[in-house]
Amino acid sequence: MIQRSRSSGNHVFYPRVAEPRTGSRDLEWVEASGDGVVYAVTVVHKRPPEKDYNVVLVDLAEGPRMMSRVDGIAPDAVKIGMPVKAGIVTEDGRSFVVFTPVTGALA
């Protein structure tokens, strides 16, 4: 789910009480496509036994950008421009959105 302004039709992330700039308080929750494209990526390097992991910014098909992680692929194989699909994971008792590469888009 993602917020959208009824009057402007623009999507908003992160969730807030009003649309940026217009201040419109007519935000409703709508289904998100889950589609996105990696906009920027970094790999955080940890000392073993901790594993390296990636941190990405994903441009959502709806317009907004969010921080996330791309799973199902080696951290250093995540590339800018890669199409990704959202899913939800639960870690340390907290559920949040991560992405996986869109199958067939890796070539």
Partner: protein, 385 residues
């Protein structure tokens, strides 16, 4: 307010000082800021009792202007503790200029101090990531700047070697500065081989974690020569912001320095080609590249190529971060004020072995948050008035 409303050249930096550069065990952050302040006031022939405009930000004291006023036993008429991270000090100078010119105060003191290295050994941050970033465990602030670097590399072909050029140039300047924390040889190869922290940054792409304090004193231009033989006049100032957290930055390759720089140049009536020396907040190597572009020293996307071949090192085509910067001189958490001190000393012609030639115009640029807040000052000699 029209762009002409800024009181160009009506105020001046008359003294500046640093204290406890590198490691300063046994002092708390306020002690360090007070030492730097007293050094600066001494140079200007002033005492704390003369200060009626007080601008100070300490890393962990959210009402540090009140604490410092209490410490000095003074009751300033104008105070600020505005928090825009490392750019706070440029915004203070901007506000101090307006207050001085309006007669709201006569002597403005801008101060900073931090004992982060001896107290914690870590970069102190007064902010925490929101719940929309925390689950992904970005190593902040490094990862935010690394994301910007990744985008710049993708869009413009900027290379790790070019990032390393920035670190190597900073070290070469630091080698000319006895107060710099890091001295010694540093090569591009050293940088590329160093421990990777958050791609594409190795530890050499990241600022130091040091103690340190700085202070500057400002007065109106009409009395500046009572306090300094060669004051550094404030010709222009501008600040701007694009976001708080990196995910909300509209374009990771374009910072609000475009806007802060535009305003500062417009106030000063000068452009990037006129600037003799550039002091910009280099928390990470990508900062120098982004700000050189956004402040008009080269076209967007050309920053990496611009710094190649020692172009911003001593003897290069543009003198950038002549004290050694946050990368090799000092970085006690909020580095912005050190760029003002260095710009001021360059205009005053008192920068010793690292003094750039014939400096009449210096640019000081602060950065706060994760490329979030940008603030620019243009300082000039008497000849530029």
């Amino acid at each position: 307010m029209s762009i002409q409303a800024f009181p160009r050249g009506a105020t001046a930096f008359v003294a500046g000082a640093t204290f406890g550069m590198g490691e300063a065990p046994g002092f708390d952050s306020m002690d360090l800021a007070v030492h730097a302040s007293l050094k600066a006031l001494d140079k200007a022939g002033l005492t704390p009792a003369d200060v009626d405009g007080l601008f100070v930000a300490l890393p962990s004291d959210m009402m540090s202007q009140l604490t410092m006023a209490q410490y000095f036993g003074i009751q300033p008429s104008v105070m600020s503790n505005n928090r825009t991270g490392g750019s706070s000090f440029q915004t203070y100078a901007h506000m101090a200029a307006l207050a001085l010119a309006a007669g709201e105060c006569d002597v403005a003191l801008i101060a900073y101090g931090s004992n982060q290295r001896t107290a914690s050994g870590k970069l102190i941050s007064s902010t925490k990531p929101s719940i929309y970033q925390a689950p992904y465990k970005p190593m902040l602030p490094i990862s935010a700047y690394a994301l910007a670097a990744s985008r710049h590399m993708h869009q413009y072909g900027t290379t790790r070697e070019q990032l390393a050029e920035v670190a190597v140039a900073a070290r070469k300047w630091a080698n000319l500065n006895p107060d710099a924390f890091m001295h010694g040889a540093l090569t591009i190869e050293d940088c590329l081989k160093a421990r990777m922290i958050s791609d594409p940054f190795t530890k050499n792409d990241c600022c130091l974690v040091t103690d340190g304090a700085a202070a500057v004193v400002m007065t109106r231009a009409d009395r500046a020569k009572d306090h300094a033989s060669r004051p550094a006049y404030l010709l222009g100032a501008g600040s701007a912001t694009t976001h708080m957290e990196i995910a909300s930055m509209p374009d990771l390759t374009v910072t609000a320095a475009v806007e802060s720089g535009r305003r500062a140049y417009a106030h000063a009536g000068v452009g990037p080609k006129d600037i003799d020396v550039v002091e910009i907040y280099d928390a990470f190597t990508i900062n120098t590249i982004l700000f050189l572009e956004d402040l008009g020293f080269c076209p967007k996307g050309e920053g990496g190529r611009f710094v190649e071949g020692g172009a911003i090192a001593p003897g290069g085509k543009l003198a950038v971060n002549t004290n050694g910067g946050g990368l090799s001189c000092v970085h006690p958490g909020m580095y912005g004020l050190f760029t003002i001190v260095e710009a001021m000393e360059q205009v005053m012609g008192i920068a010793g072995d690292r003094q750039a030639k014939d400096v009449n115009l210096a640019l000081s640029h602060g950065n706060g948050g994760t490329l979030s807040s940008q603030a620019t000052l243009i300082l000039g000699s008497e000849a530029t008035l």
